[in-house]
Symmetry: C2
Subunit: 203 residues, 2 copies
């Protein structure tokens, strides 16, 4: 793996999105300056990011749009559908199950998991299974990424179940800060923090 950090990978995703739009406009070539403007970063940053991942262009001619998209798809694993599960199908989990932006980005929620019999529904469009069946499902369906939207009190228990399963990456919406380990990456999402941040910057 290239020694990229989270911010770098986020920029790659954003370059890719801009490039797809440019391609749909008929663009064949693009300069680092243009991508820099679109993302609000410096052109030097764009060139540095690209060079880190071996993406080549030339100073006069710029970069080939299709070449960049292909390469970025490969790097980001976007040449195939990205399949995930959601653990905890309350209001937030349920909203994320139908999140349009996931569909648009080729991210498919293949199942939800819960412990509440009133919520479990294996016949639903996105089936909701009993939490106890998670390890088997994940192994059989080769799912590696999970979103955790369980109540705070269930967070540690569910985290242990996920760590013992084949899950390798977790997007954690619970208030319990999880650290991940060598087998499993955890990204903690805190929407309250985003709001607090806005309050600070609008004071």
């Amino acid at each position: 793996m290239t020694a990229a950090n989270r911010e770098t990978v986020n920029r790659l995703s954003n370059y890719r999105k801009v490039l797809i739009k440019l391609k749909s406009l008929g663009f064949q070539k693009v300069f680092s300056d243009n991508l820099a403007d679109a993302l609000g970063v410096s052109a030097a940053q764009v060139r540095k990011d690209f060079s880190l991942f071996g993406l080549t262009g030339n100073k006069k001619g710029g970069y080939q749009v299709c070449y960049l998209i292909d390469k970025l798809n490969e790097i980001l694993g976007k040449h195939e559908e990205q399949r995930i599960i959601i653990v905890g199908c309350g209001k937030l989990g349920n909203a994320l199950m139908g999140h349009n932006r996931f569909v648009r980005e080729g991210i498919k929620v293949v199942a939800g998991f819960d412990t509440d019999p009133a919520i479990i529904d294996p016949e639903a469009r996105v089936p909701i299974h009993d939490l106890s069946t998670l390890p088997e499902f994940v192994a059989g369906e080769h799912v590696r990424i999970a979103i955790m939207t369980v109540p705070e009190g269930a967070a540690n228990h569910v985290y242990e179940i996920l760590l013992e399963s084949d899950i390798r990456g977790i997007l954690n919406f619970t208030p319990v800060q999880l650290k991940g380990n060598e087998h499993c990456v955890v990204h903690n999402v805190n929407l309250a923090l985003e709001i607090e941040n806005l309050f600070y910057f609008t004071k």
Copy 2:
């Protein structure tokens, strides 16, 4: 305003959370090393952040927990309830209306706004009003922060309404990347990007 960036302010929020927990454990003093460990940053970073905001301690005795909490509350505007509105009360907007983590952090959703008569309900626990009444509501209730969870097609129109109102900060969940202006700060949230990022790091 101190010249702090978004990451610095996020760290302040996180220091505050750790400090509140320490206080509840009876701690009266804390060292930068301990806060650094809790956040996974360096002790030098903690001291730099604190010094940027004029938070003082001494090398031998460390920082006073209560003093830090008071100061951070003041800096982050947490000495009073933080009131926000949600524009777009579909599944995601609705889930965020009842988001436990907001309540726990003293963030109160005072109203939702939508254009769908089937969703509008001024009598609900968190009232949902017609979008057309937003500017008046915001002015009257002195609300400055909005979450945007409208469909993509409505994003630009709603954004214009918010810009013309007294709203000064927006957390934008729509796929339309908004840039903000000198009167209004926009933070774009892209959960699909978080998922893509996890896929990269678990390849």
